[in-house]
């Protein structure tokens, strides 16, 4: 990672920690400025990191980001497991099922595809020219 990205990550972590401090009064308990800051910085990091992903790997990239965006699992667990009315919790459970499916299939298929990318040297003996 470049210096710029490392410092962005550092700022991002800083912003995330800062967000745990008591929010400014009158914001309804939400420090949304720090959330927007996190979003902005994370997008910059994402663009910086993903621009350098090899074009060879664009299909696995898409399946791993599928799995990563299934981080919605975090919200789903809270909605499913908290002491909420049953209809709400069932909606959460469906969301949890959908996210979990993405996590499992996303990571597994990414790994399966990546295992296939070999250089000539790694092909089994006797199959080489």
């Amino acid at each position: 990672m470049s210096v710029i990205e490392s410092s962005l990550v550092a700022t991002l972590v800083g912003a995330a920690v800062r967000g745990q401090e008591p929010a400014t009064p009158g914001s309804g308990g939400l420090d949304y400025w720090s959330m927007l800051t996190v979003f902005l910085l994370a997008s910059f990091i994402g663009i910086g990191v993903i621009r350098r992903v090899s074009r060879l790997l664009h299909t696995p990239l898409m399946s791993i980001t599928n799995a990563i965006s299934a981080i919605a699992v975090v919200g789903s667990i809270i909605v499913t497991g908290a002491d909420y009315p049953p209809t709400i919790r069932i909606m959460g459970a469906v969301a949890l099922f959908a996210s979990m499916t993405n996590i499992v299939s996303g990571f597994m298929i990414t790994d399966r595809m990546l295992k296939m990318f070999k250089t000539d040297a790694k092909r089994p003996e006797g199959e080489r020219q």
Partner: protein
């Protein structure tokens, strides 16, 4: 205390996600990226599950188990079906975001309107609209890619299509603004489902006018939407891990969409609202020119004499499952000391990077897979360009014919090779329905038939000539 531990776990997970994507920049480190991603996800799940407000565990266990039951088979699909699987998982991602947004809205509405601050309402509306439109849009895309009978493959167009689509989205946005202003008005519980309905409908209508050749871009855009809906969920739940991971996914979708659009010389708006299908039907009615057919025997003899062979794969190779036969051909040519390279167009296939994965599956070293921009300067030195089920990405009309719908799209310069062999299933025009001048050029010979059979014939000819091996 427990909250501090959870937050710490989230921060570690955030860093691991960034590293996971960073390691994807090289095939050598990419698998480490997967492990980092799995580690981050396990950490996030366990930390959240440990929160004191999570008190009921039965449903969680059940949903997670069911996720494994469905997820494991979905990860074992044949690689030709990866585009559909990807679209399907975007649909799941959108559904999860939409459902959590819906659940949170009704929860807060029931608990008292002071919870529904303007900021939260904007985030909920964004989450719900993005989530549900991604859900139905991706289901439609998956259906088209799977070639379900229910869903027409060809673009479906009707009068005022764009006006109707934009109108629906605008209506959903207006209702959304009304809800932000009056989140707990008596009519609010009725307006909210209307927004959901409009988003669901918009997703369907957005995808039906889009043809198969545009699918790589559409999948990338839907990827971006799925990420952004997770970001919106992060705003709703005040959770920075969701915001970060969603933003990483969103920017990935954005970059892939830009790569795809550049590779087709089109804009986002043109892909989404251009109804690519209409123009081409008229183009197909040009006068009949004649092809020069060649037999596998003849082609094999010419191939044997070559120094540099460039194979240009396209969606036809995926459909025919010809990648393993192509690899046998690669081995046969390599055995004779012939240099063989694969020229990969960014939009070849049905999703970004589709051809690379198929060829890697067939054990072809990734060092021989060359991007369009790198191979084009070498094409004049190329003895034989072998086109396997590709069409538009080698159509010289993109360079010369201003009236062609693909004019301006960067192509692989197959026509600059000394000899061109093109394997084609039938004499009909390709997916985009455009005639390809390459097939009528003086130095082009056609090999008609299923890509797998034709390449298999070539292999048989080549191996027959050199005895058993």
């Amino acid at each position: 205390m427990i909250h501090a531990v959870v937050q710490l776990a989230y921060i570690v997970a955030t860093a691991l996600f960034v590293f996971a994507l960073h390691w994807m920049n090289d095939p050598k480190t990419a698998r480490r990226g997967v492990h980092a991603g799995i580690g981050a996800m396990v950490l996030a799940v366990l930390a959240t599950w440990g929160l004191p407000e999570v008190v009921h565990h039965g449903l969680i266990v059940g949903a997670i188990a069911l996720g494994f039951v469905v997820g494991v088979p979905l990860s074992r699909v044949p690689l030709t079906a990866v585009p559909q699987r990807t679209a399907l998982s975007h649909a799941f991602g959108g559904l999860a975001a939409g459902l959590v947004g819906t659940a949170k809205y009704y929860l807060w509405l029931g608990e008292g309107s002071e919870n529904l601050t303007a900021f939260r309402m904007v985030a909920i509306i964004a989450e719900v609209i993005l989530g549900y439109l991604t859900f139905t849009g991706s289901l439609m895309a998956a259906g088209k890619l799977q070639e379900l009978k229910l869903i027409p493959q060809r673009p479906v167009t009707y009068p005022f299509q764009n006006v109707i689509n934009i109108g629906l989205l605008a209506l959903a946005a207006v209702l959304g603004v009304a809800l932000v202003l009056e989140p707990s008005a008596p009519w609010a519980p009725m307006v909210f489902p209307a927004i959901i309905g409009l988003a669901l409908l918009f997703g369907v209508l957005l995808i039906i006018p889009i043809g198969g050749a545009d699918m790589p871009t559409v999948i990338a855009i839907l990827n971006s939407y799925a990420g952004l809906s997770a970001v919106a969920m992060g705003f709703v739940l005040d959770n920075k891990l969701l915001i970060t991971a969603g933003a990483l996914d969103g920017s990935s979708g954005l970059i892939l969409s830009i790569v795809m659009c550049r590779a087709m010389n089109r804009s986002f708006a043109n892909v989404l609202f251009g109804a690519f299908g209409q123009v081409q039907q008229q183009k197909a009615l040009t006068e009949q020119k004649s092809y020069k057919p060649e037999t596998p025997e003849g082609a094999a003899q010419v191939l044997e004499q070559a120094n540099l062979v460039v194979i240009i794969p396209g969606y036809g190779m995926a459909v025919a499952q010809a990648q393993h036969k192509v690899r046998e051909l690669y081995d046969q040519l390599k055995k004779r000391g012939i240099t063989v390279k694969f020229a990969i167009h960014p939009v070849a296939g049905r999703m970004p990077g589709h051809m690379n994965v198929l060829l890697a599956e067939a054990d072809i070293p990734y060092t021989d897979l060359v991007e369009m921009d790198e191979i084009n300067p070498d094409m004049p030195q190329c003895d034989i360009a072998l086109v396997v089920g590709a069409n538009d990405v080698v159509n010289p009309a993109a360079r010369s014919d201003k009236s062609s719908p693909i004019y301006g799209m960067p192509i692989i310069d197959a026509d600059k090779a000394r000899t061109v062999f093109a394997i084609k299933r039938s004499k009909n025009p390709g997916f985009a329905g455009i005639d390809n001048e390459l097939y009528f050029a003086d130095h082009t010979w056609m090999l008609f038939g299923d890509a797998k059979n034709v390449v298999g014939e070539l292999v048989k000819q080549l191996s027959g000539g050199s005895g058993l091996h």
